[in-house]
Symmetry: C2
Subunit: 377 residues, 2 copies
């Protein structure tokens, strides 16, 4: 129950044992088509160039940054956590002309600052983190979407901890590039990075002045393999894509809206339990990410000690704080198959006991009642 | 039985279903240590920086090229097939100053040409393909190793189709960087790329003038995760690394020399059968790669028709020719778990039937006798 990977559905484990098949086998191309179609549904897009890049989520981030940014490109990078900062680092490595909006960790990017930045300079791309995995903040998109449209700026969105877990409308929002990972709300093992590129973004990648530095993540080459050309590029892992496909089929069976509601309900229950037990959430209610819950470490409690106890005693992993939040928060994931009433209950019981060991008393019964009254309703 | 992926051992399938575990879990770090140690054994190296980059074989190629080459670096790229050419493309994208030795497809790089090139100019790196997957050529290394040493040039070696299948001595040969893949002679599914970097290569990556363009494949960051720092970098796929570890344990159990002998014996049997049946190998005997057999398509035979028949009728995949050899050869892999007497027999029978359908008669009995007399001996 950390920030991911999380427990996966038995059917996804089963899919991993499907016989390995060649990356140029016509039967496998059908699998890739199904994966692409499933990803279009979760991204809510018609983008032709929608696929899973052959690496972990960070490979998807790099694919988006490396394809859309070239030397001297003016780009606006919104940073309010660890992963926004990672985008900044990547943009700088592409030698883009980077302007940063630094926000507070634990709050979303302020649209006012975006408006001012866009007024002051013409940018090619604005990068935004939809769901900041380091802080548990869900970025409201309305203003940013409007401002980007008004200013003709391309939007590159980090959806690592939102895709498949919370509302995300690539086409309605006019996203130009978005990336995610396989192991969080999608519910597959780590190893693939769903990405989608608008036609405008693909055209931008095709008409660059400088070649894309990454051959491996060149979206124009990747598209020749995933698209109708079926031109060999890399040895696509059938094992990983079978697992991703099974996870996507599970999403289709559940229905995207039902899935969002399940994530939200379990999140609300966890928060009710945690707060009733006297713990504090890092993020204000209106900006909380339903998939990743950041809980402040109470004064006097040994942060790492709690995590160590949970892992050792209950085989339960939760995440540590990253970067500026190291030592200050725990990150508790409720994503995909692992977003469940049993995990809400399990976490409340386990954290209560871990805190008790350190002499920090909580009222578990009251917490459990608060959580379950929301879920039983 | 194409150029890979190939059939994998049941124990490797089993490993894929091990529970997904967090990339920062102490128990998982032990797995990574075991993977690294297993890879050191197959690379025959003591290099500290030995790991599996989080992507397919091409991610390993890109990791080696992107870390060791920066703008204006003089590099010598030996091309005698499709993958040598891919290295050239990557080197050019890094804006290295690339000199190419163009060799004939189906022959190794001529050391005489290497000697002349190294005499004419001081290079930082020479890139060589040990086992050219597109042609089935095994590059003799003695002269190149000697010349690189004499000239103080770093060697970057493609070992995609050799690692775990034929002799490969990273330390004895003084290699500075080498990359491979998980799905060929190693015998795991595709999705990881074993790499090894000498101390000198790591130092070269650390002391670059320009930052490494790829954040995802920056070996100095990857080493902080795989090495003793255990600093988070990407969400390492436990699923993939469990499978790789199981494959490496199978190699350890068999013994590296026994494994090389098995690959050689099955290769010789296949060649004896194929030649007795009147087919011709592309590569001269002294340069043949035991893991990938390139067979010339006889005049008048429909190359793709044969592959289609094998796939449809026997569920048997073999590889097509790539690039300059498209339509001219078949590529038949005998690697890892799939390098077996039963596959030799199966292939001879299947190709004989596929050719018969096209009116091309072969003496299967004689071919089988020739093959099996070598294996029974």
């Amino acid at each position: 129950m950390g920030p991911g990977p999380l427990d996966i559905h038995p059917r996804v484990y089963q899919a991993l044992t499907s016989p390995v098949i060649g990356h140029m086998d016509p039967a496998y191309f059908k699998t890739l088509d199904q994966v692409a179609e499933g990803l279009r549904q979760v991204f809510q897009t018609q983008n032709k160039v929608t696929q899973a890049t052959p690496g972990t989520g960070t490979s998807g981030m790099e694919a988006c940054v490396a394809n859309l940014m070239e030397p001297a490109d003016p780009v606006l990078v919104c940073v309010h956590g660890y992963f926004g900062d990672r985008v900044r680092q990547m943009a700088e490595r592409q030698e883009a002309e980077v302007t940063v909006i630094e926000g507070e960790w634990g709050r979303p990017t302020d649209p006012q600052q975006v408006e001012e930045a866009l007024k002051a300079k013409a940018f090619k791309v604005i990068t935004v983190v939809h769901a900041e995995t380091s802080t548990g903040v869900l970025q409201p998109m309305d203003d940013i979407v409007r401002l980007a449209k008004e200013n003709g700026v391309m939007i590159l969105l980090d959806t690592v901890t939102s895709l498949g877990g919370v509302e995300l409308k690539a086409d309605a929002w006019g996203l130009d590039a978005a990336y995610s990972c396989s192991q969080k709300c999608i519910g597959a093992p780590p190893g693939l990075a769903p990405v989608t590129f608008s036609d405008r973004a693909v055209e931008a990648a095709r008409s660059r002045k400088h070649p894309i530095r990454s051959w491996y993540l060149d979206i124009t080459l990747l598209d020749k393999y995933w698209g109708s050309d079926r031109m060999y590029h890399h040895t696509s892992s059938s094992t990983m894509n079978y697992a991703l496909l099974e996870a996507l089929l599970l999403i289709e069976e559940e229905g995207l809206q039902n899935r969002f509601e399940r994530h939200l309900a379990n999140h609300r229950a966890l928060v009710a339990g945690v707060e009733t037990m006297g713990l504090e959430m890092l993020v204000k209610p209106e900006h909380r990410l339903p998939t990743l819950n950041t809980i402040r470490v109470p004064d006097g409690v040994d942060e790492a000690g709690v995590r160590g106890y949970l892992l050792k005693t209950f085989n339960l992993e939760i995440g540590a704080g990253l970067g500026a939040l190291a030592g200050q928060v725990w990150r508790v994931g409720l994503m995909g198959y692992a977003s469940s009433a049993e995990n809400v209950l399990f976490f409340l019981s386990a954290i209560s006991r871990a805190l008790a060991i350190q002499g920090y008393k909580t009222d578990l019964s009251a917490g459990q009642d608060a959580a379950m009254s929301l879920l039983d309703a």
